[in-house]
Symmetry: C2
Subunit: 267 residues, 2 copies
């Protein structure tokens, strides 16, 4: 039965674990297969064509694992390749930009939305386009924050350097009188405490990770593909990087011990 | 083009206007057609078979208006007839119970969820079943509140009587240590200020109305049926009751002047 197949998720590295964590919480009976491309992380300053090639390599691997849905748990890969990826296989493919955009439309009170992300994501202007498809009246301001992903990948989100960098990069967006800020990179929820502190009271932070898990739930339900009565779901993790390091960091972030295998993808 | 067709919404009376209000906010470019069955309101204490017959009469009317999607903006009608309604036409049919359940799964911190609704809704146990399909570990308590719909239909939500009734009916649920309360009737968001006051701090109120508009947005997008570039959408309202009274109350609630026509349905 198609509903018993796992959900496939992928990211440039650890960032997509924020989506995994929300899948565990919001869809606790689903099996998952995750691929982190830590060896080639970060994606955010590469050429979009290169990111798209990596994305398709990982999607091919996930398709071989017979997944029922693929979640591109990476804003950069979503911006670079979602449209092409949707027609690649005959299963639903969900990116993180559409759910994050919808959540911002839902949350905004005064119609002023900020978006932070990697260079590829921000240059693609994907969030603004998604938001304006639904509501052209909303004001959307973008800001790329290139160093944030490395802070997370190197597990330095609680450092003095993190606080300085966040304050510095968010300064222009603080002047824009936004009421809602989209964390347009799946790594950023791990910086949310610092980002929230810098932005101050009254700004709603949207985690595209949380929203994507929720939208995956809605799509699986509409397509009658929810996995029900599966009290002991299977969770498989793969990395192109060092499996031991992935296991150490991933287990800590997900607050459960995980098993990780290495995979090699052609460059 | 199918995306240019209106969304159809229906309710036993005024309650579904809470969904309309959220469609205006979250999907401002969509045309809509609304039917309020005020003449036969409330539905909540009728036999489910009778409610289902009313539901199908209204859906037939909406289908004649060539709608692209039907939102059953009424918990009682959703509980009584959603499953049968889904196969009635070849368009998406969305109830309010599934989106409200998903939002509660998203919101709960300690896994204890309360549900209030009409007698039909609560007896159907639909919320508990929907929540447990996705996460059987969550604790769900139900409570029917029969007089609440009349308070809203008669526009007495700010009365001393409303405060007394809400306090009385919510007393058992206040002892259940819930952290999330589903307003399982589209009329109830209009009582939300009083309900919030009675429940106290730290309880998340879930409006199935808000969540349903959001899930409608996701479904229309996945099905590529969003209405884009429609800056002057059309909004048509019909009632089986008194059109002048509907116009007066509806215009006030929606904070815009609306046009209302009467319709007659066989009893």
């Amino acid at each position: 039965m198609s509903s018993k197949r796992p959900i496939g998720l992928l990211d440039s590295g650890f960032g997509g674990l924020t989506v995994v964590s929300e899948v565990f919480r919001q869809l606790p009976q689903e099996d998952i297969v995750y691929v982190g491309d830590n060896l080639r992380c970060p994606y955010g300053s590469r050429e979009p064509q290169e990111v798209k090639r990596y994305l398709f390599q990982i999607m091919d691997f996930l398709a071989e694992q017979d997944v029922k849905m693929i979640i591109i748990a990476c804003n950069t890969a979503t911006a670079a390749g979602l449209e092409a990826a949707k027609s690649r296989y005959n299963i639903p493919v969900l990116g993180v930009i559409t759910p994050g955009s919808r959540a911002a439309i839902f949350a905004t009170q005064r119609g002023r939305i900020g978006v932070i992300g990697t260079e590829v994501t921000i240059r693609s202007d994907s969030y603004r386009r998604e938001i304006h498809r639904i509501n052209p009246q909303l004001h959307v301001v973008n800001r790329s924050c290139p160093p944030f992903v490395q802070l997370v990948e190197e597990d330095r989100t609680d450092s003095a350097e993190a606080r300085l960098l966040v304050r510095d990069y968010l300064a222009p967006i603080r002047e824009e009188q936004i009421d809602t800020l989209i964390l347009g990179c799946t790594h950023y929820p791990l910086l949310a405490p610092v980002i929230g502190e810098v932005m101050g009271e009254g700004i709603t932070l949207i985690s595209s990770a949380e929203e994507t898990a929720r939208e995956a739930s809605a799509i699986l339900q509409v397509k009658q593909m929810l996995n029900e009565q599966n009290p002991h779901p299977s969770h498989r993790f793969y990395t192109t990087g060092n499996p031991d390091y992935f296991c150490e960091v991933g287990s800590r972030w997900l607050k459960r011990s995980i098993e990780v295998a290495g995979i090699k993808l052609d460059d």
